[in-house]
Amino acid sequence: MKKIWWKILCVVLLFYTIIGGLLVKIPNLPVLGETIRNLFFHVGMWAVMMTLFTCSVVQSIRYLSKMNIRYDIYAHNYASTGILFGLIGYATGALWMNYTWADPNAPSYSFSTVARDPKLIGTAIALLIYFAYFILRQSIPDIDKRAKISAVYNIFAFAMLFPTIMIIPRILPSLHPGQEGNPALNFKDVDSTMRLIEYPAFVGWTLLGVWIATLKIRINLIKEKHFIK
């Protein structure tokens, strides 16, 4: 039970996020209204997803340099937890969008314009890459070969993902806030009282994501203990 402090911190921060996020006084903006509270939940999911995907790539690089199957287990569990948070991010974003962007009189038409949004496409590409990563893994029976080839694909795809996130906003117009960079992270976007909740919320969600990933890793390390050096 060593290093328990960050788990306690995670629980405390998430309680603070949920209670504070629902009670804090918000600037009552037109269109957004009370839905702005979703910021603490929706944006946090992307922070977790990108953190976990980055962890996954770091573990893939470690696998290629050490050739120890343990790092492969780390890499694919971080990636699968990242996919989970990506899907939750889509769900929270869809709810939010339903109240702010969508035209209630023509839902199907407004969906096709909204789905062309660069942030949505960027995330869709990230999720597709990691779904393809898992399909590639399933297709190779040999454990060492699977670990090596999927590590190579993971690094290649991740290195291509970053230019993608830079390029696509140049091509398409966007309704999404934060056209010039990371939405909700710079100081001009977010009200100062909201920032008091926002940053602890990001840390809390990220810790939760890493916690879930480490639990999955520990289960898989036990399952595969005969193969690990």
Binding site: L128, I129, I149, V152, I155, A157, M160, T164, I167, R170
Partner: protein, 218 residues
């Protein structure tokens, strides 16, 4: 570290194989002709956006089919032989060079066939030809590396498509935006976007050189 004559020898080997076993070359050629002919029968004189979309999607599939065999044709025994006589960096650079030339040739052919069968809505011909060649080159680089991954996984071309489509979306979107500019007299082709494409190609080349040695060893 880089030895040009070794890369050239490996490249010549690929060309020689292609010249001796012409079925694959003519196979891709027939693939292009048949697809464009079917398109010609299905639609006549499409709008310029449709023309543009169809052109790039067909380029994508031609590229997957042309590049897929480049690593799969090498049997396990032959790979062992290459392993003893050459280095992975030379090997992958020779493959990238060969596939680039193959796709440039195929792009030129499909451009001619598109102009002949489906009409020519292009306003700025020379920039569009340049763009088509640059786009073909980008596609060939990305899919060459994915072909190496798919060949190691002992999979068919289908997994290449699954692995490659999410990666190629940004480049395709850039290419379509740039070529839309070539279709109308009022829009200008942005040089920044062209430089971005070239930079992406260089990134793919660099990643292939760094990562291929890991795939190469069993």
């Amino acid at each position: 570290m880089l030895n040009k004559s070794k890369i050239l020898t490996l490249f010549k080997k690929d060309v020689l194989l292609e010249v001796r076993q012409q079925y694959s070359f003519y196979g891709i050629l027939l693939y292009i002709v048949a697809t464009i002919f079917v398109l010609f029968l299905a639609i006549e004189e499409p709008e310029k956006e449709v023309w543009n979309g169809l052109f790039w999607i067909i380029q994508l599939f031609v590229c997957i089919n042309a590049v897929a065999k480049s690593f799969m044709q090498e049997s396990k025994e032959r790979m062992l032989y290459f392993y003893t006589i050459s280095s992975p960096v030379h090997f992958v650079l020779a493959k990238l060079l060969f596939n680039s030339l193959l796709i440039l040739l195929m792009t030129a052919l499909s451009l001619i066939l598109f102009f002949a069968f489906i009409g020519n809505p292009v306003q700025k011909l020379l920039p569009f030809i340049g763009l088509a060649l640059l786009g073909g080159w980008s596609l060939s680089l990305v899919f060459t590396f994915l072909a190496a991954i798919a060949a190691k996984a002992q999979q068919n071309a289908a997994i290449m498509a699954v692995l490659g489509f999410p990666l190629i979306i940004p480049q395709l979107m850039l290419l379509m935006k740039l070529s839309n500019a070539a279709f109308s007299a009022s829009l200008t082709v942005h040089w920044v976007d062209v430089i971005l494409l070239v930079a992406l190609d260089l990134l793919v080349g660099l990643l292939s050189v760094i990562l291929f040695p890991f795939l190469w060893r069993d």
